[in-house]
Structures are given as C-alpha cells and as structure tokens.
Amino acid sequence: MITLNVKIAIAALRSARVRTILTMTGIVIGVASVTLIMALGEGIKREVGSEIHKLGGDVIQIRPGATNTEGLSQPVGLNLLGATTPSTLNERDLESVEHTKNVTAVAPMMIVSGHVSHGATELKHPFIIATTEELPQVLNVKLTHGEFFNPSIQTEVAVIGRDVANKLLGTDNQVGGKITVRGQDYTVIGILDSNTGSTAFGGLAPDLSKAIFIPFEAGKRAYQGATQIQEIEVKVADHATPEQVTAAIHSAIKKNHGGEEDFSVITQQEALQATSSIVRVLTTFTAAIASISLLVGGIGIMNIMLVSVTERTKEIGIRKSIGATNGQILGQFLIEAMVISVGGGLIGVALAFITGSLLSFRLDITPTITLPSLFLAFGVSTTVGILFGIAPAVKAARKDPIEALRHE
C-alpha cells in the first residue's frame, strides 16, 4: 500500500512538474546549505585537530611583544612584526625557560638574514633559523637523510629542507655538500623531512622544505655574538599541564624583564582550541541561518500542498466514492509532501557533496560530510515534509465526499 501511495504521489507530482521542481528547490537549497556549512565546519575542525596532533598539544611558544588580551593568545602567524624588529627575548630568558620545572625540551628560534649560495647558485629568499639540537624533539621534525645537530657539534653545519637541497646541491638525498651562509661555509649534515613537524611552524617558517637550520652558536657567531631570539619553543613534560608551565615561564621571564610584559607565552592547544571553538560557534550560527531556508522550504511545501488539495477536491471526492478511506487519502497527500521533501533532501545532499568536493580543490580544507550531519539534514527535511504536509493532508482527508464530488 505504501509503495502504491508513493507511486500515486509521484504520478501526481509529475503532472505538476514545474510546481514540484520549484517547491523542491526550497528544500534542496536548505538541505544543501546546511549540509555544506556543517561539512565545512567539520573540515576546519579536523584541520585544526590535525594541527594540534602534529604540533602536539604540549608545545608552548614564547614570543617577543605583549599579547593584547590576557589568556587568549595572538592567532598563529600574526607575529611577523616581532620577527623583524629587535626581539625582547634574550639568552637569559632561554636559560630561565630551560630551568623551569616540567620543561623537557627547549628550542630557541633565531632568524638569520643573509645570502645563501652554493658556488654560483644563489638561493632567493632564504629562510635561515639558528636553533639548538632540541628542535626536532620539540616540533616533531624528522630527517630523511643525515642527522640533526648534537651538543658536540657547534661548528658550521646546516640541516636543510628538500627544496633548498635541490636548488643548491641538485640533490635531496645526499649529505656532505657545502653551502655558503653570510659568507661562511656550512656543511650540510641532514635533509629535513617536510612531511613532519608543523607546517605552520609557529608562524615563522613558511615551509619546512624551504628552511635552513644552523646551530644556535653558529648563528650567534654570524652576528658577532649578538642574540636575536624571535621565538622559543618549549615542550612540556607529559605529566604536567601546559597551563602550569605557561604560568611558571611567564613569571620567570617577567622577573628577567623587570616586571615588563613585553613578551607572550602561548600554548598551542589554547590557540587551537580557541580557533576550533570559534569555528564551532560560527558553524552552528551559519547552519542555524541556513536552516531558516529549510523552514521557508517547508512553508513552500505546505502552500503548494494546500493549493493542490483545493485543486484536486474533485479527485478526492472520486477516490472516496470508489472506496478510499480517510486514512488512504491522508496517506496519499502526506506521502506527496514527503516525496517532495525527501527528494529535495536527497538532491540537496548530493549537491552538498558535489559543491564540497569542488570547494576542496580551491580551499586548503576538505569539507567533510559526516554521517550525523547527513542524518540531521535528512531528518530535518523529512520532518519538515511531515510537519508541513500534515495540515493539507488532514484537510484533504476530511473533505466531505458529496461536496468534493460537486466541486468543479
């Protein structure tokens, strides 16, 4: 009986094709936009989640320059100004951080400017960072070839990214080559694996494959002993919370600076959590707005069904006279409304899939349609169909057959 009712409904909808398509469009747009927005939100959340995972939630960054708001740190990557102006962080701060409780590894980041070349080949826009041997541990960086510095090597050695190696040395799978940095020869002892570490790299490095790491001491020598620490990366012990360590570091450096808060201590987790909660709020908000279109679509269904019931009054009378029960008439019109809404829902989800995969080519994030969001979109559209279909269907079922038959 239900399959039959569906067939009757589809036949009836087909006979008013344009009207059906227009009515369905409302639901299609509603479902598609809600699904897509939720998919985008989910995509961003996953991206953020994988960032947390890559960087480790246990990494703290110390940067020169005060934060604007207590607690909420500057978004990652906005500290470029701090990177080019004289830094307020010094070696004493570094030492204080190293001696803070529950700190397992510390890596200073000192940006070194200068030309990088190999023979006649010069690297454009080199990105040179002087750091310590603990950097791989802090930022989860791995090497494809060779090794990172160790405490015994503070001579002129370098670990370089794949792009740098390819451009200067013509190969990325061989160590021992020589490059010239600020007029000084460095021996390449390792090639970085660009698939590891943080791609954002605390906002300092554009890409691990374009980076050149040199020992901290070598970096200091390049500047005649002066230090310019643009960022300190801190790894927190497993058993400690980043918040405690952050507070300890904060007070230690503040003491060093004579009470001046000219630096920021940022936990990565905090930054990313803030980002992901903003994303969540935005997603919910936008989805709520988009779901208004579902409501509008539902009213559209109701409107059309009411028109349809009036228009088909005679048909209802005929059907009743040949033995349709009120329930069967109700079912017919309800199913008609549901065919519109479920059909619209299906098309909407399909549209969201297509738009989502098209968007993923242009955006860094991949819109992810999750099963719950599918159920939600589908559930909502079906509910809309039932809710807004029920009044017209009841109206149809209650029609007096004699009146209905007389209707022209």
């Binding site: 048909e315 033995g323 349709a324 009120n326």
Partner: protein, 263 residues
C-alpha cells in the same frame, strides 16, 4: 466486521432495506426535508429507475444509498448490515466492495490512464499492480475498450468515458450499482449504448439503481419509482418491454412534461 443483523421483514434476496428514512438539512425553522419517512426495499438483481423533479430528494437518496451521506432518522440495511453501525473506515470499505458509482459527469481521474482508472478501486483493496491491471484489462475488453486502455480520459468520447466509468464501477463486483443520470451528458446515440451496457450488466445479475430524468430510459428498468418532496409517490414493477425498433424519438431528448416533472 460489523455484527450481522437480520431484519425480520427482509429475506435473503433483499440488498437494500430502508425503513422510515429521513434526511433533514439546516436547523430549526430553516430546516428542509430532503427525504421524508421513506421506506424502500430493493431485491438482488433488480433494475430500479428513480424519477422525479429536481429537489425531490433523488440525489440525497443516492448519496445515502452510496454511504456518502448519513440519514437523520431511520435505518438503512445494506446486505443485512446496519449502515449506521459502521465506522467511516468500514463505510469506505463497503463503498469499495459493495457499491459501484456511475456519475453523470463520469468522474474519471483526468491524469490517470483509462486502465488505471478502472483499476483504482482495486488499488484501495490492496491488490498488486499486475493483478489489478489484468482485472481492469479483462473488464475493458468486455466493453470493447481494449485498444483504449492506455488512453487518457480526455482522449475519449463521452460515451467511451462513461463505459470506462461503468467498468470501474463493476471492477469490484459490487452488490449494487448506483447510476446518477448516467446518460445526462451524452448524446442520444451514446445514451443508447450506455443503457444497453447497463442492461447487459443487469442481465448478469447486478442490482442497479438509476436516477434519470428521461422517462424513455425507464424501459430498461424493471421497477420505476417516482419521487416527490422526499417521498415515494409511486412504485411500479413491470417486465422490461423490448425497445420498440426504429423508435422515432431519439434517446435523451426531453419528453412531454409529466405532472411531477412540471413542478
């Protein structure tokens, strides 16, 4: 199923038994009496023609007989079932299984093919698609409409549409066929064909109750009831006369007004 009730005054042959049936419209001093204390019995296999002027209650009677309307007073037994005791769902079931309607304006579903129209009552019975269409097709064949099965109603002539409607009324093999002015919208030639079809249906044993304005059509009936003001004015049984051959006056033309028609 409703409890079977046996009225002492009816026998096994009785299909319809109306006792002191009244139908009132409106309230208080604005009340109109459509049917006034009407008592009527129709036996299985009868072909009853109901005649009478407009407003005499013919249509109200048909609606009540067809379970589309309920009487204000009195009882209606259809095949020994008290109709008043049926729920609206059961009434729908009765309409589906025991009653076939033939309307003046055919009342075919315009957007559904001929065969689907005929099969429609079986649809509500829950028959499967193939079984339904087979039954409809068999019936349409007997009406000579096999080639028109997949036509839409608007592609048919009036006479063909009415034949489709009769087929639809018969598809459930109902106890009674209620025909309300079945030839009212047809020309004389088509009217004759329709009346012959109904006559055939009658010969196969179906009970037919037909409302008509046209006295010429009563020759097909074996019982003629004349109604005035919601009452039965006359009720005469006669053996159907053979249609006079080469009748001069074509069917469907308005005859000389009789007493009651002049009202």
């Amino acid at each position: 199923m409703p409890r079977k009730k046996t009225d002492t005054s009816t026998n096994n042959k009785t299909v319809i038994a109306l006792t002191n049936l009244s139908k009132l419209y409106g309230v208080e001093d604005a009340t109109t009496v459509a049917l006034d204390n009407l008592t009527l019995k129709v036996d299985k296999g009868e072909f009853v023609a109901i005649m009478g002027p407009s407003g005499c209650g013919k249509t109200t009677l048909m609606n009540i007989l067809g379970l589309l309307d309920a009487p204000s007073h009195g009882t209606y037994y259809l095949e020994n079932h008290s109709v008043a005791e049926l729920s609206s769902r059961q009434q729908a079931k009765f309409r589906r299984n025991k009653i076939g309607f033939v309307f003046q304006s055919f009342n075919l579903l315009p957007r559904v093919s001929v065969i689907e129209n005929v099969a429609l009552p079986l649809t509500y019975k829950g028959w499967g698609h193939t079984r339904r269409l087979n039954a409809a097709s068999r019936l349409l064949k007997t009406f000579g409409l096999r080639e028109r099965e997949y036509y839409m109603p608007n592609q048919l002539s009036g006479g063909q549409m009415q034949r489709v409607a009769i087929a639809r009324a018969l598809v459930n093999n109902p106890a009674i066929i209620l025909a309300d002015e079945p030839t009212g919208n047809l020309d004389s030639k088509s009217s004759e064909i329709i009346m012959q079809e109904l006559s055939e249906v009658h010969k196969k044993g179906h009970t037919i109750i037909m409302v008509t304005h046209n006295p010429n059509l009563t020759v097909y009936a074996d019982r003629v009831i004349r109604m005035i003001d919601g009452r039965i004015a006359s009720d005469s049984k006669h053996k159907p006369k053979p249609r006079p051959k080469n009748a001069k006056r074509p069917l469907g033309t308005v005859p000389k007004p009789r007493e009651e028609d002049a009202a």
